[in-house]
C-alpha cells in the first residue's frame, strides 16, 4: 500500500509539470485558436536559460524562477508580433506548421550552441533532502514542484475567473465579436496572452531543470505527451488541461512502476480510450463539424 502512495505522489509531482505546461497551451489556444507546437521547445528553453544563468551569472534557482518567465514572456511577445500574428486569420493548421518550423530551429540552435550532453543543474539548497512519512519516501523537491505547480494553476484559474482581466480574456475567447461590440479592444489582449502562455512553459522548464536532464531534445517528447494531455482534457478547457495533466502524470508513474516496458505507451492508450468514448475530451465542448 505504501508503495502505491509513493507512486501516486510521484505521479502527482510529474503531473504538475504537465498541468502547468498544458495550461499555457490551453490559454493560448483559447484566446488565439493557435496550437503552439513550439511549447515543448519553450519548456526546453526555460530550462536551458535557467542552467545558463546559473553557470555564467551564478543566478540561482529562486531568482531564475522569477526571471526566466519574464524573459520567456518577452520571447512570446516577439514570436506573436513577428510571426504568429500574420497567420491568425487563416486556417489554424498554418500556425501549427509555423510553430513546428520554429521548434526545429530552436532545438537545432540549442544543440549547436550547447551540444547534446545535458547541462548541469543542482537541486536548490534546502530542498535536497528526502521527506519520509512512515514508509513513504519522496524527495523534498518533488513535493515542492508539485505544490508550486498546483498553486500556479490555481492562481491562473482565479485570475481568469475572479478578476476583470480574466473576465475580458474569457469573453474574448468565447464571443470575440460581442466583446468587441461592448467596446473592448480584443486584439490588444492577444499578444500578452500569448506571451503569458509561453511564460508558463518557461516556468515549467525552470521547475524541471533540477530533476531532469537539460538537453535540446528534452521538449521533443514532452510536447507530444502535452498534446495527449490536451486531447484528453479537451483543448479549450483550462480545468481540463490541469486535471488531464495530473491524470497523465499519475498514469505514467503507475506505468513506470508496474509495467515499465509499456509506461510510455499507456498514456497514448488512455488518449485512444478518451477519443473513443468522448471525442471532445473530458472537459471539452462539442466541436462544430
Amino acid at each position: 500500500m505504501s508503495e502505491f502512495i509513493q507512486y501516486t505522489l510521484q505521479g502527482l509531482a510529474a503531473g504538475g509539470f504537465y498541468a502547468l505546461s498544458a495550461l499555457g497551451l490551453a490559454v493560448i489556444f483559447g484566446v488565439l485558436g493557435v496550437v503552439n507546437f513550439s511549447h515543448g521547445a519553450c519548456y526546453m528553453l526555460g530550462a536551458v536559460i535557467a542552467a545558463v544563468l546559473l553557470a555564467e551569472l551564478q543566478v540561482g534557482f529562486w531568482v531564475a524562477l522569477l526571471v526566466v518567465p519574464i524573459l520567456m514572456f518577452g520571447f512570446g511577445v516577439l514570436m506573436e508580433r513577428l510571426l504568429v500574428r500574420w497567420l491568425l486569420a487563416l486556417d489554424p493548421l498554418y500556425n501549427f506548421l509555423l510553430t513546428f518550423g520554429l521548434t526545429l530551429i530552436l532545438v537545432e540552435a540549442v544543440k549547436q550552441r550547447y551540444g547534446v550532453s545535458g547541462l548541469p543543474y543542482e537541486v536548490p539548497a534546502g530542498l535536497g533532502g528526502q521527506v519520509s512519512v512512515g514508509s513513504v519516501n519522496l524527495s523534498a523537491y518533488a513535493i515542492f514542484a508539485c505544490v508550486f505547480s498546483v498553486a500556479v494553476c490555481l492562481a491562473v484559474g482565479l485570475l481568469l475567473t475572479r478578476t476583470r482581466i480574466g473576465m475580458i480574456v474569457r469573453a474574448s475567447t468565447e464571443a470575440p465579436e460581442r466583446t468587441r461590440a461592448l467596446g473592448i479592444n480584443v486584439g490588444r489582449w492577444v499578444t500578452p496572452v500569448f506571451g503569458f502562455g509561453i511564460a508558463l512553459a518557461g516556468l515549467a522548464g525552470v521547475l524541471a531543470a533540477p530533476t531532469r536532464a537539460i538537453t535540446a531534445e528534452m521538449g521533443s517528447n514532452f510536447i507530444i505527451i502535452l498534446f495527449a494531455v490536451v486531447v484528453i482534457g479537451g483543448l479549450g478547457s483550462i480545468l481540463g488541461a490541469v486535471v488531464a495533466g495530473l491524470l497523465v502524470g499519475l498514469v505514467e508513474a503507475y506505468g513506470i512502476a508496474y509495467a515499465p516496458t509499456y509506461a510510455q505507451i499507456v498514456i497514448f492508450v488512455l488518449m485512444a480510450l478518451v477519443v473513443l468514448v468522448r471525442p471532445s475530451g473530458l472537459f471539452g465542448r462539442e466541436e462544430v463539424a
Binding site: A89, F96, G101, L104, I224, V231, E287
Partner: protein, 339 residues
Amino acid sequence: MSEQMTAKVDVDLAQPSILSRRNPLRYVLLLAGLAVVVMLPYWIYPPVAMDILCWGLFAISVDLLLGFTGLLSFGHAAFWGGSAYCAGLIATHWGVPFPVAVLGGAVFSMLIAWPIGYLSVRRTGIYFAMVTLAFAQMLYFIANQARDLTGGENGLQGIPRNFFGIEAVETDPFYFYYVGAAMILVGILIAWRVVNSPFGRVLTAVRDNPARARALGYDVERYKITAFIISAGLAGLAGGVFAVSHQFASLQELMWTTSGKVVLVTVLGGIGTLWGGLVGAGVVVTLEDYLASSGFEGIGLITGTIFVLIVLLFRHGIWGTGRNVLRRYVLERRRRPRD
C-alpha cells in the same frame, strides 16, 4: 471566411486540372515528367534519386489526405516507418524478392492505419493532427521496446535486396533505381486515379462541406477512413522501397520529425497539387544531401527556416505557384480571343 488550408481552386470543376483532357500540353508534360524520372540517376547519385522518388510518393500520400480530404496527418511516419520495418523483416527472414516484401510492408501499414484512422477521424482539423501525431509516437515507443524484432536503437541492418537472382539489380543502385522507380510510379498512378475518380470527388466534397456531404447521404467518416487507409498504403509503399534501397530501417523513420518533414515537403511542393510532392521532395532531398556532404551540421536550422518562410510567404508551394502562372499566361491567353 478564412483562407482554407486546402487549395480549392484545384478541384473546382470549372478549373481544368493541369493534366485534364482539355489541356493541350497534357502529353508534353507527362512525357517530360517521365523523361526526368528515367534520366534522374544519370544526373545525380542513384541512391539520392531513389530517395527523391520515395519522399515524393510519401508526400503525395500526405497530400491525398491534406489537399483532397482536408485532413492534416502529422503521424504519417507510422506508416512509412512501419512498412520500412515490416518490409525489412519479411525480406530478411523469408528471403522473398524485394517487391513482395515492400508489398507486405504496405499491407501492414494499411492494417495499422485502420484502427488509427477509425479513432482519429472522430476529430477534425488541428485535433486530427495532434491525435495522429500521438498515435505515431506510440508506434515509435513500441518499436523501441521490441528490440528483439526491430533491433532497437541499432535499427534493422543488412536488409537483403533479392530480385529473382538478377545480380545487377541486387547489387548496383543504378539498376535497382529503375525497379524501385517502377514501384513508386505504380503508387503515384494509384493516387492519381483515386483523386480523379468518383470516390475522389466525394472526398473533396467531404473536405469542402462535410455537413452537406452527409446530408447528401455519404458516410463521411467511412470515406475519411478509406482515404486514410489508401494514403497509409502509399506511404507504406514509399517507406518499404526506401528501406530496401538503404538496406536499413531505423527508428528515425518512425520519429515525429519524419512526419513533420513529409508535411514540409508537401507544403513546399504545393498542397492539393498531388504532383507538387515530387518537386518538393526533389528540393528537400537534394538540399539535405548537399548540406550533409558539405559538412554542415545544423540541418534543422535550414529546414525549420524553410518551413517558417513557406508558411508565411509561399503558401501555394512551388507547383501551386507555377500552375497559377501557367494558367494565367498560357491557358487564359489561348482562350481569350473566343470571348
